[in-house]
């Protein structure tokens, strides 16, 4: 509840009266006219949902142009939610993320690999995830697979300490595959429940760096055929349409089981994940809502859509 409040206040903070404008536009009218549709378009586009998806959505709305009822804006919101979901169609079900089972996977060691472009929040997210596993009574080991960026393993080490997790690292510049090899062996030897592997941020366009990820993956698979059990792509909500390219490339090259959408405590809405869900079918599993260890929440499609449209009192 508190987190939703935080999400909502972030999402709505600077929505300077667009909903107010919709309200104005529909007052006394019985149909969804172009003016209202324009205002809706603005909300959707500025949420980074992406032109194609927005056009599709508006087309559907045009078809259902008649609205009725007392509170038109509430109606519109309702219609929007329905239509958005039908645009996403069969992906909606996939998007349901079951938190309880994520943190109680029933496999040991449960191996999670975290990937993404530079600066999206991978390391922080690992700290938060480790903390949640610890709260579920699981033992965790964290591998410092980012041997490239200055200070990366020092940063991760602090998160390992904060969450009470074991930590495996090599010196700067070492082969990340070797780190992962050691970490996996340690996880097995020490009978740890969970291994979370950090990786260096890399742009999805860098062929050699993407190859390196594949190699890290192969190291895992060699030791545990099912590993990694989860490969999470961390996307920054502030990023625009490029997130789609990122999701596509990371999926094609390392395979993805889910997305974590960070920095939703800001004013960016991260709507592009809806397009990713629609086009690529990759579910969002968690959202990041701050820099603190507790600031992680399970993704909920309804809440997310509502937050895009929720009324706000601030200007």
């Amino acid at each position: 509840m508190a987190l939703f409040g935080k999400l909502r206040s972030g999402l709505t903070k600077t929505r300077t009266g667009i909903l107010g404008r919709i309200k104005e536009a529909v007052t006394g009218k019985k149909t969804l006219d172009e003016e209202t549709l324009d205002a809706i378009e603005e909300i959707l586009i500025t949420s980074d949902i992406g032109v194609e998806t927005v056009m599709e959505l508006l087309e559907r709305l045009r078809k259902r142009a008649r609205i009725k009822g007392e509170d038109e804006t509430a109606e519109i919101q309702d219609i929007m939610r329905q239509e958005l979901k039908s645009v996403l169609s069969d992906q909606v079900e996939r998007s349901a993320s079951d938190e309880k089972s994520f943190f109680n996977p029933g496999v040991t060691p449960f191996v999670i690999m975290v990937v993404g472009v530079n600066g999206t929040g991978k390391t922080t997210t690992i700290g938060k995830l480790a903390h949640r596993f610890r709260k579920e009574g699981k033992s965790v080991i964290i591998a410092a697979g980012d041997t490239f960026r200055a200070g990366a393993s020092e940063q991760l080490n602090i998160w390992a300490e904060r969450s009470g997790s074991d930590f495996v690292r090599h010196q700067a510049g070492a082969d990340p595959g070797a780190v992962v090899f050691d970490a996996l062996n340690a996880a097995v030897a020490r009978r740890k429940d969970v291994l979370i592997v950090d990786t260096a941020g890399r742009l999805h366009t860098k062929v050699n760096l993407m190859e390196e990820l594949k190699k890290i993956r192969r190291v895992m698979t060699k030791l545990i055929p099912e590993a990694p059990h989860e490969t999470l792509l961390v996307l920054d909500a502030t990023t625009g349409q490029n997130s789609i390219r990122q999701a596509e490339q990371f999926r094609d090259i390392v395979g993805l089981t889910g997305i974590v959408l960070t920095k939703l405590d800001g004013t960016a809405k991260g709507g592009v994940v809806l397009t990713i869900l629609k086009e690529l079918g990759i579910p969002v599993k968690f959202i990041g809502l701050g820099e603190g260890i507790e600031d992680l929440a399970a993704f909920d499609l309804n809440t997310f859509i509502d937050a895009l449209f929720s009324e706000n009192n601030q200007t």
Binding site: T14, T46, N118, A150, Q155, H204, T205, D236
Partner: protein
């Protein structure tokens, strides 16, 4: 794609023309395509709207309406207008009369501030300055370690203090710079959200106390619609001097550049082109305009190509394109040219339509080039001219001769075929305009 946009516009406008008059309303309809391109490039909704309106007004001139190629005319207007908007005010660094000159990097979390601080320090040292980097991010875990490590790598001193607040740290660093004779001080501040009032207040207090000569807003080049809010808020708090756009070595179209410039009027001063510290570049509004329009960074490519490719070589290429037939000799020659031009990833990213193609990916590995050269050199003259000759026997011989495998040879042949297809595409649809843009020096 730029080509696409031109074609779409031409198509729409011709249709309209066929029906009668080209009117204001008709142009507005056709400009919807332009708006779409801008939005897909992450230009802010409102900024795109305004921009399209201004293009529409300019397009109403008679010259456009009467032109046989109104689409091209409009695209030119768009390109010029984008370039003008993004590059108006001059972007030069301010230096203090009495050193040290103070620089300050600010921005959202993970935007690339610390890396930029390293890059700027390296750049200024290259200009014979003596920089001191200041670790003013006391919040993010190991942020100070990060800067210290960078300092060691670059052999540039780093100032940090335990148990002090960022305002004090920045202040003290200036005293230290004076003592040690550093004429440049660069603050690395913590990432923060523009809506976090306490944290924003901290920045404005640092500004008050130290009066930096250059404050930068460091923005991730991949930023979406939110760019305008963050850029505006930071500007409200700090009235910064310039913008740095990072992570432009990827394939983001970079509409944020236009958005930020449009809402703040602040010049974009630098572009970050990689994680390494020698990848700081000047901002070129014209290149950015073509990138936003999806046209690839043709202009920088031309510049590089012009340096590397001799007249005669490029004539041969043109010839090949005209004949629509490619030989392995051409292929080898191209690879050598490419090698002369510099880091491959960068070059390939600049070529319209190539960045995302399998070819773009296949060729990036520089070591693979050596292999490719060896394979082609093991072919006979005939085989190079007529790749269809390459049967199993010949492939095996070539593989042996070049110390590679038959798979390597096959891979090269399939890349070759792809390039040939690509060339056909260029020479069919876009030859006229490609050559127009490139002045006939296009290496492919």
């Amino acid at each position: 794609m730029f080509e696409d946009l031109t074609r779409k516009l031409d198509h729409v406008l011709k249709k309209i023309k066929g029906q009668g008059k080209l009117s204001e309303k008709n142009i507005a309809d056709s400009l919807r395509e332009v708006r779409k391109v801008l939005l897909e490039a992450d230009v802010n909704y409102k900024v795109a709207k305004e921009f399209v309106k201004s293009v529409q007004e300019k397009s109403l001139g008679q010259a456009v309406l009467k032109s046989i190629t109104p689409g091209q005319q409009i695209v030119k207007i768009i390109y010029d207008e984008l370039t003008r908007l993004m590059g108006q005010s001059t972007a030069s660094l301010r230096f203090a009369n009495i050193p040290p000159t103070i620089f300050m990097a600010t921005g959202l979390q993970g935007s690339g501030k610390t890396t930029f601080v390293g890059k700027l320090a390296l750049y200024l040292r290259g200009q014979k300055h003596s920089p001191l980097m200041v670790a003013a991010d006391i919040y993010r875990p190991a942020a100070i370690d990060q800067l210290k490590t960078i300092g060691k790598q670059l052999n540039i001193p780093v100032f940090s203090e335990d148990g002090k607040n960022p305002i004090q740290i920045c202040w003290d660093s200036i005293q230290q710079a004076r003592q040690n004779g550093n004429d440049v001080v660069i603050f690395d501040t913590a990432g923060r959200l523009h809506i976090d009032e306490n944290m924003m207040k901290e920045l404005s207090e640092i500004k008050e106390k130290t009066k930096p000569h250059n404050i930068f807003f460091v923005a991730d080049g991949m930023t979406g619609q939110d760019a305008v809010k963050a850029a505006t808020e930071f500007n409200n708090w700090l009235a910064y001097d310039g913008v740095v756009l990072t992570k432009m070595d990827g394939d983001a179209r970079g509409g944020a550049a236009l958005s930020i410039k449009a809402v703040t009027g602040k010049p974009i001063m630098f572009v970050g082109m990689g994680e390494k510290f020698n990848t700081l570049e000047q901002f070129h509004p014209d290149r950015m305009a073509s990138r936003i329009l999806g046209m690839g960074d043709v202009i920088s490519l031309v510049e590089k190509a012009q340096i590397a490719v001799s007249e005669e070589e490029s004539r041969r290429m043109e010839e090949a394109i005209r004949k629509k037939r490619l030989t392995f000799d051409d292929f080898l020659q191209q690879l050598r040219q490419i090698k002369k031009m510099g880091p491959l990833e960068q070059i390939i990213g600049m070529i319209p339509g190539l960045g995302a193609s399998p070819l773009g990916k296949a060729n990036v590995d520089e070591k693979a080039l050596v292999k490719v050269e060896a394979i082609i050199q093991s072919m006979t003259r005939e085989e190079r001219r007529n790749p269809r000759l390459l049967n199993g026997n010949r492939k095996r011989r070539i593989a042996r001769g070049s110390g590679t495998t038959v798979q390597d040879v096959n891979r090269l042949i399939s890349q070759f075929n792809q390039m040939q297809k690509l060339m056909k595409r260029f020479s069919k649809g876009g030859k006229r305009s490609m050559r127009g843009v490139l002045g006939g020096n296009y290496p492919f």
